[in-house]
């Protein structure tokens, strides 16, 4: 388990790209496993922006890694390795998402709006270090209702902690567009949370 891994969006305790690329190209399995364990969580989340189920996202991530294995010999370092891998992921996920949208009725895809009566919360409020389970669920749901472009940006920026430059490069969007998408996504999540806390009488 990599529970204790510090995720700052940067390359924490991580070998620099040339070392990793050389390791991959020479068949160093430890290097591949390191990469797999470090990046797959974020990749699953990002893939989920474009496809309709967690299982589908897992297949996208698997296909992406298989493509990386095939193509790493051609990696030229024009972007960071992570950006290169994530761009492959986005292309793979988008194609699959488009295929799904032609075959799956939209009504079976979206999450329900969390307008129901929220379950009672124990005394103590949300100021603990761990995010209260129901707030977590609420945010998950809110993110699940976002359009895929907004969801991709908020996933990379706020859930994974990537900088705006890298996000623009991964998603091939302008900085201004990125900011608009991020802002709309955040405002929507904030609205969901505010509605929840209004119902609870605070904070």
């Amino acid at each position: 388990m990599s529970e204790g891994v510090v995720r700052l969006g940067g390359v924490t305790d991580f070998p620099p790209d040339p070392v990793i690329v050389a390791g991959l190209q020479s068949g160093d399995e430890e290097v591949f496993a390191l990469l797999l364990d470090e990046w797959s969580r974020g990749m699953l989340r990002l893939a989920r922006s474009y496809v309709s189920t967690a299982a589908s996202a897992e297949e996208v991530v698997q296909d992406t890694w298989l493509a990386v294995i095939r193509a790493v010999g051609t990696f030229e370092g024009r972007s960071s390795l992570r950006t290169w891998v994530y761009r492959i992921l986005v292309n793979t996920a988008r194609r699959r998402g488009e295929r799904e949208s032609r075959t799956i009725p939209v009504s079976s895809v979206g999450g329900e709006r969390p307008d129901g009566v929220p379950p009672e919360r124990a005394e103590g409020g949300p100021e603990g270090a761990a995010l209260a389970g129901e707030v977590r669920e609420l945010i998950d749901k809110a993110v699940g209702t976002l359009p895929s472009r907004q969801r991709a940006v908020i996933t990379l920026r706020d859930m994974e902690g990537y900088g705006s430059d890298e996000v623009c490069e991964i998603l091939s969007i302008s900085p201004a567009n990125q900011r608009v998408l991020l802002h709309r996504a955040r405002a929507a999540v904030r609205d969901h949370l505010a509605a929840y806390y209004d119902g609870k009488g605070g904070p």
Partner: protein, 79 residues
């Protein structure tokens, strides 16, 4: 600056992307408007909460499938 304009600029402010003329207006509005101060607090709380969501990883089957694929691809390649 009114409250709607303020709300539209929170992300730009947080990204330090407000221009020199908007930034003081944004801060001035926040200092005078308790509603927008509250909105700003909720907005940043949402961002913090997003960063604390747990992320599930790959299933053990997929992970081991990929490690095998990597090993096979490497053994096929002449060094």
């Amino acid at each position: 600056m009114n409250c709607d304009e303020f709300a539209e600029l929170v992300t730009a402010y947080l990204d330090d992307a407000l221009d020199d003329s908007s930034r003081p207006l944004f801060l001035d509005h926040m200092a005078r408007c308790s509603g927008c101060t509250g909105y700003y607090g909720q907005f940043t709380a949402a961002i913090t909460a997003l960063g604390e969501l747990p992320a599930p990883g790959l299933s053990p089957q997929t992970r081991s499938h990929l490690l095998t694929a990597f090993r096979e691809a490497s053994s096929e390649k002449p060094e």
